[in-house]
């Protein structure tokens, strides 16, 4: 193989590629396909820069199945809001003598002797969008150095123009040092019940139905048990998150994950699975085709009967069974698609080899003592490379479609994000009943675009390397 790198050979190869490229350039459909493939490759390579979120480990960005942000240009969605995060800044309303510093982190020191004490903190934020479907509020409290005292903490919300308040959270009586992160989530049934709503009611819609200034109140009460009572309470990390009805470029799925980032990262899997599986299949196909065509006889008979048998196997059911038995691993999927996808190519290569075998230069190579292996790798393989390459390009879309089908049926690798899996989730987890077109349509379009790009390129290739087709045009 080292001779490939000799200078003369290199010049010949470069010239051949140049000629090929010259011819390829005139195929409009081929150039379109090539451009599309380049775009996909760029998207796959620069995925981390195209999306701010990691597809697997991303926080809750918006409500589940949020619409894309740009739908707000349509009048019926103009009121839909993005996610609003408010860090709560506390002001002291009552009991300022105990408070030693306020803002995002409030420190309360109670050295009350024997009297009851009450500290009330308030924080205001304004909300001017359509009521959210989901929200959560959180804060952290720490109780330190508590001695002979009991205290209780409560978080409540006062809507604008209302006298009543919603009690979000209330501690039991605390009489020991403790720290806790409190989260109240509108999806939490305990929380909904505490607010006094029925479980099927949409708490977010009810509470935040008005536009205006909402006030959070933290009420801390101390009760002394002796004359020597004392306690320190710290309130910090307070935040209210009103999850958006719209989010990002393509909205969110049922787990409130960003669909755009899934789409971008999915291109990596589809591209690599398609290319690798096609490569595996092509290598096997070339090997079988050349050996079968050159050696002939019994070897040929056995290999071609194997091809016949493989053509009789229902591929998808078999692949599903293999993936089920050996594990849902993306490498296995590549391998299985490759191993069971070379029959057609082997037949084509074999017939090409048969005709090349009869040419005079093969005869002279054999006459000068070239071994079978030498002739195959030196004279036959280089001649069938163009055909094999065209067929490999056409094998990529079917490999991509196979992987997509596997993932769609729920047999994809669960550790990676793929377009087929996105469709599976949309189909299985309510994307259809919610009419979530932003969730259903994009992954399929991505699959179609990539597959068509390879089909176009393969078609253009085929016209160049396959003289029969060239004559037709």
């Amino acid at each position: 193989m080292a001779s490939i790198f000799s200078k003369d050979k290199r010049i010949i190869y470069i010239r051949r590629i140049q000629e090929f490229w010259f011819e390829y350039r005139s195929k409009r459909i081929g150039m379109a396909g090539l451009a599309l493939i380049i775009i996909y490759v760029l998207v796959a390579v620069f995925a981390p820069f195209l999306t701010p979120y990691n597809p697997v480990t991303q926080p809750r960005l918006a409500q589940a199945t949020a619409m894309p942000e740009w739908v707000t240009v349509f009048p019926q969605y103009s009121d839909y809001g993005k996610t609003q995060r408010e860090n709560l800044n506390w002001n002291v309303k009552k009991g300022s003598e105990f408070v030693e510093g306020w803002g995002t982190s409030v420190e309360i020191r109670y050295e009350g002797g024997n009297r009851l004490a009450q500290v009330e903190l308030s924080s205001q934020f304004s909300y001017n969008q359509m009521a959210p479907n989901e929200f959560f509020a959180k804060f952290r409290y720490e109780i330190e150095n508590i001695r002979d005292a009991e205290c209780s903490i409560a978080l409540s919300l006062i809507p604008p123009e209302a006298n009543s308040s919603y009690i979000f959270w209330k501690s039991e009586t605390l009489n020991a040092d403790k720290s806790q992160d409190v989260t109240t989530d509108s999806k939490d049934p305990v929380f909904i019940k505490r607010l006094g709503f029925a479980l099927q009611e949409n708490v977010g819609n009810i509470i935040f139905s008005q536009k205006g200034d909402y006030t959070f109140i933290v009420l801390i009460q101390f009760r002394p048990l002796s004359n020597d009572a004392m306690a320190e309470v710290i309130i910090e990390n307070s935040q209210i998150v009103l999850l958006g009805r719209v989010h990002g470029i393509l909205g969110t799925d049922y787990l409130a994950k960003d669909i755009w980032s899934h789409l971008v990262w999915g291109s990596r899997i589809s591209l690599s699975v398609g290319l690798l599986a096609a490569l595996v299949g092509t290598v096997i196909g070339i090997f079988v085709g050349v050996v079968s065509g050159y050696l002939g006889g019994l070897v040929d008979e056995v290999l071609m009967r194997t091809v016949d048998i493989l053509l009789c196997l229902p591929l998808l059911p078999l692949l599903l069974a293999l993936v089920h038995l050996y594990g849902r691993n993306v490498y296995y999927i590549v391998l299985f698609i490759g191993i069971f996808g070379w029959q057609g190519l082997a037949r084509v290569i074999r017939s090409q080899t048969l005709s090349i075998r009869e040419t005079p230069y093969i005869e002279s190579a054999r006459a000068s003592g070239g071994s079978g292996f030498y002739i195959m790798q030196k004279h036959i393989v280089p001649n069938i490379i163009p055909v094999a390459f065209a067929s490999m390009v056409l094998a990529v879309p079917s490999a991509i479609l196979f992987e997509a089908s596997l993932s769609f049926l729920g047999f994809g690798d669960p550790r990676v994000v793929t377009w087929g899996m996105m469709l599976q989730h949309a189909f299985g987890f309510g994307g259809f009943s919610q009419l979530a077109w932003w969730w259903i349509v994009p992954p399929g379009l991505a699959i179609i675009g990539l597959c068509l790009a390879f089909v176009f390129v393969g078609h253009a290739f085929d016209e160049i390397v396959n003289p029969r087709l060239r004559r037709r045009r």
């Binding site: 053509l311 009789c312 229902p314 089920h324 056409l394 079917s398 259809f432």
Partner: protein, 332 residues
Amino acid sequence: MREYLLKRIIISIFILWVVASLNFVIFQVVSPLSPEDTYAPVSLDVPPETLELLRELYGLNEPLHIRYIKYVRNMFTFDFGISFVSRKSVISEMSQRLPATVLLLGSSMVATILIGTPIGILAASRRGSKTDIATIGAGLFTWGVPVFYIQLLFMLFFSYYCLKIFGVQLFPVRGLYSIPPPGNPLAFMADVSWHIALPLITLVVGGFGSWALYTRNILLDALTQDYIVTARAKGLTERTVLYRHAFRSTLPPIVTIIALSIPGIITGAMITEWIFTLPGIGRWYLDALTQSDYPVLQGVLFMFAILTIFCNLIADLLYGILDPRIRVGVRR
């Protein structure tokens, strides 16, 4: 002809035997499962004595080659065992599930051929026209478009969006018939047709393009032959040339393509049955996969192979009848 037939049948049986052996290798030899797992649903806490009894019952203690012979015998006698889930024999449940699949496969194939062939002929007869280019486009398009995606889109727009916008469910989204099914046989048939309409339409939409392209290419190939020149020189009308001379000679390759596309159609039907919850073989197979129902898996895989081999056999024989050059029993 008889010799040829005999030879083909023997080859088919040989292929079937290889498939059965492959099944044995995949499920019994190199499988990560222990053999008894594929015969009975064994839970983790089964006492060793019971396990030993099971192994004895299914003859798993015997040497591999004896097990292999028994396995192949079971496959060839359609004794696939008992489904773990339904506790019925695999073959009897298969016969219950078959009608739905046959209905879907058969009707979609017929419809695809009936729609695709005329388009292909039209494209070939007006080569280079807009019709021709559109046909090529449609054919290439089907290469790159997953049928299940077409089905999902149709389902989204014609079932869910229709219900939302117009308040009418144009097509049902699951099942082969309404529940409860209408008692009147005519009404039942209408109900089934209504349920199968969307899967059928989507399968045809996903398949007619490539079919038309096949027909076009084969016909164009035929139109360059010498006998077409002769026919034209005789002064026959273009119509006669096209239908009586060219189209007749395209039948053998078309029949071959039908046979060769059967495995692909089974695949497509499987996903279709999954999407539309049709109680066919494909859906059954997928359910068996998720429930690790190994007797069903082995049985269905084997039956799929039989179906494919049988179709290939029929295609070969038809080829012999349609193409006089083959009749002597010599392959081209």
